[in-house]
């Protein structure tokens, strides 16, 4: 009988239930009493006791920062995390287009980092070359994404930043996914796409060589 019981338990442990993470050893070492992200403290009756664990069950351990918090990275990047002054209106969009300028230098580091980030964050809609032909557009899910090199050729960098900050039309705000520095780095690469997508040549110090510099927006009849 004892053997049978042991046998049944062993058989039971062979069951693979994809909903069960499996056995833990020393479970008290698995969950931290200090607050960590993505931990449901309602499961931690060992540290909190049954009553408190019940009240913590299914609550978020990751919280939003207090209103008005300024992300501080340190060094010269600190200036990039100040609150955004333009309101989320069409007037704010126009004002950002005129008044908002990139604090970054147009150089190798920023353009290449921008390309890397653009590939991660933008290509599925805007396409690898910025023609608005990403996979989501090709699959017919979101259409009419404008081409940087034609329709948006003269879009000023301030308006690009405004669109990343608040979103525009169907595009949502990407402020939660990108730091201010990263947004400006992406814009450095979008400016390359506006000029046709050919990477400029860089000198030894990483600055854009004058002959291949991205052309300043010419007076054009294209409206945007």
């Amino acid at each position: 009988m004892v053997l049978f019981a042991a046998f049944a338990v062993m058989m039971g442990s062979c069951v693979t239930d994809p909903n069960s993470p499996g056995l833990e050893y020393m479970p008290d070492m698995y969950r931290s009493p200090a607050i960590e992200a993505y931990v449901d403290y309602g499961m931690d009756t060992y540290h909190f006791g049954n009553d408190q664990a019940d009240s913590l069950s299914n609550t978020l351990s990751a919280r939003k920062p207090a209103p008005g918090s300024i992300a501080y990275v340190g060094g010269d990047k600190a200036g990039l995390n100040m609150p955004y002054p333009y309101p989320n209106t069409m007037d704010g969009y126009e004002a950002a287009g005129v008044g908002l300028k990139s604090p970054l230098a147009t150089n190798k580091v920023n353009i290449e980092k921008g390309k890397e980030l653009y590939t991660i964050m933008c290509t599925h809609c805007h396409g690898k070359t910025g023609k608005g032909d990403g996979a989501i557009a090709a699959n017919g899910l979101i259409m009419g994404i404008p081409d940087y090199s034609t329709k948006l050729k003269d879009l000023p960098e301030g308006k690009m930043y405004h669109s990343i900050q608040y979103g525009k039309g169907l595009m949502g705000s990407h402020a939660s996914q990108l730091s201010q520095l990263e947004r400006w780095q992406i814009i450095e690469y979008v400016k390359v796409l506006q000029a046709g997508g050919k990477m400029p040549e860089f000198d030894a110090a990483g600055n854009v060589m004058a002959a291949t510099a991205v052309a300043a927006p010419a007076d054009s009849t294209i409206i945007q």
Partner: protein, 457 residues
């Protein structure tokens, strides 16, 4: 919007109109005579990012039934498209009603560089869209290796096995009872004495003594079986391979990553910045799903759960004001015990590892799960930098095996260069450290990746 450029565009459209009017007097208005095929191209290029051709709201009102609705003149429609603010300045009451109704919600439409003839084509398309061509199903190119119903059959087989075993025991016990009663009845009929009732334990013992060889063989087998299975299940403690919990939303990685080429780090954007790769917050879902309201497999059901969580009305295309947002309770899949420190940014940004190295080909997954190590090793053809490992995924053996094999690119980080320089200084007179350089490569282990306090503190 560039105010300087209205003039030239206006002239251009005027010239085109005059030219067309000269050539053919049939292009009388924007409502008739347009080419719907050309109009479809123009619509998709210029209008489709905000408007739909039916009445559905995207980022602006749908254009379905516009011909019946539009109660201003045709010239004003053309002007409204080419330069909305100038059209509004005309003081037409219908335009005024449009401005009051839609501009506070959607903002002004950007002035569109389309001619009057283009608008006629677009209107022809909007009023009479040709039969919708089916979007090519890319499902074959993006197979999912996870089938949703797996896992349940195994557990039911075990339950049947146990039920059969219990049934067998019951039958055996009742059979021995029957035999005992029959025996007694026989003895009584022969005038003998009744047998004293003996316990089941005694009966089994008597039977076992009679069949000693058979019983000891069975016993040996059972002991060996319990030992092997016990050892295996003991080795499974703390191994989470194959863990695939049910999630609150049927989120398929294959649809997002493979079919629509969304990068891993678009949603898990903190993988390069923080300890956690991050489960995307609902606003990240909405970056696409504000426009994509119908899922490929579950229609509006699963995507509707996002709207329910964040408070978005898909019919009006607007967020509901003062909505109490409900967090989506995703179940975390890759859990490490608290006594292990793991940092994603260290591995993604500094180490330059591919996501697939630890997570497998998630682009072919349905919901998230822990990929077994054999499955990850098989990806070597697609990801040549993959490090081949043998221990189960997410165990300590797996971690340190990788730390022993993974090479460090010293040029990428000043930190590692510094550690390496210190190592070189210490190397004089230290044979063990000198051995590190024997294979001409610097692994994570050699730079301290096997020190306990790197991960446990």
């Amino acid at each position: 919007m560039n105010r300087h450029s209205f003039g030239p565009s206006w002239y251009r459209s005027l010239i085109i109109c005059l030219f067309l009017g000269f050539v053919s007097s049939a292009t009388a208005g924007v409502w008739e005579g347009g080419d719907p095929v050309k109009g479809e191209q123009l619509f998709n290029a210029n209008c489709a990012s905000c408007h739909k051709i039916n009445k559905e709201v995207l980022a602006a009102p749908g254009l379905g039934g516009i011909a019946e609705r539009w109660s201003a003149s045709e010239e004003l429609l053309v002007q409204w498209i080419q330069n909305p603010q100038a059209a509004a300045a005309s003081g037409d009451p219908y335009i005024k009603s449009l401005v009051e109704r839609y501009v506070p919600t959607f903002g002004w439409m950007a002035a569109q560089a389309v001619s009057e003839a283009d608008i006629a084509d677009i209107m022809a398309y909007v009023q009479n869209p040709p039969g919708k061509t089916e979007v090519v199903d890319t499902g074959d190119a993006c197979p999912t290796i996870d089938d949703l119903d797996q896992g349940s059959s195994n557990s039911s087989a075990t339950i049947w096995f146990i039920i059969l075993f219990v049934l067998f025991l019951i039958i055996a016990v009742s059979a021995s009872n029957v035999r005992f009663s029959l025996n007694n009845a026989m003895r009584e009929s022969e005038g003998g004495e009744r047998l004293a009732p003996i316990s089941y334990g005694m009966q089994i013992r008597a039977w076992a003594w009679k069949n000693l060889v058979f019983v000891s063989l069975i016993g040996l087998f059972v002991v060996a079986y319990v030992a092997v299975v016990g050892y295996q299940s003991a080795m499974d403690v703390g191994v989470y391979e194959g863990y695939r919990p049910e999630q609150p939303i049927q989120f398929w990685h294959s649809i997002h990553v493979c079919e629509n080429e969304v990068d891993c780090q678009y949603c898990h954007s903190s993988a390069s910045k923080s300890k956690h790769a991050g489960i995307p917050s609902t606003n990240v879902c909405m970056n696409c799903h504000k426009g994509i309201k119908n899922g490929k497999r579950w229609g509006e059901k699963e995507i509707g759960k996002i709207y329910d969580a964040i408070g978005f009305d898909p019919t009006s295309g607007q967020y509901i004001e003062n909505y109490e947002e409900k967090p989506i309770a995703w179940t975390k899949v890759h859990n490490l015990p608290d006594h292990v420190y793991f940092n994603h940014s260290q591995h993604v940004a500094v180490g330059g590892l591919e996501c697939q190295n630890c997570h497998g080909d998630v682009a072919k997954f349905t919901v998230g799960r822990i990929a077994p190590v054999e499955e990850i090793n098989a990806l070597i053809d697609d990801y040549p930098t993959l490090i081949q490992l043998s221990k189960p995924t997410l165990t300590m053996g797996w971690c340190i095996e990788c730390h022993n094999k993974a090479e460090v690119d010293l040029t990428k980080s000043g930190y590692y260069e510094e550690i390496h320089n210190r190592l070189k200084k210490e190397i004089r007179g230290n044979e063990e450290l000198r051995n590190y350089l024997g294979d001409d490569k610097v692994t994570v282990k050699e730079l301290g990746g096997w020190e306990c306090s790197k991960c446990h503190y």
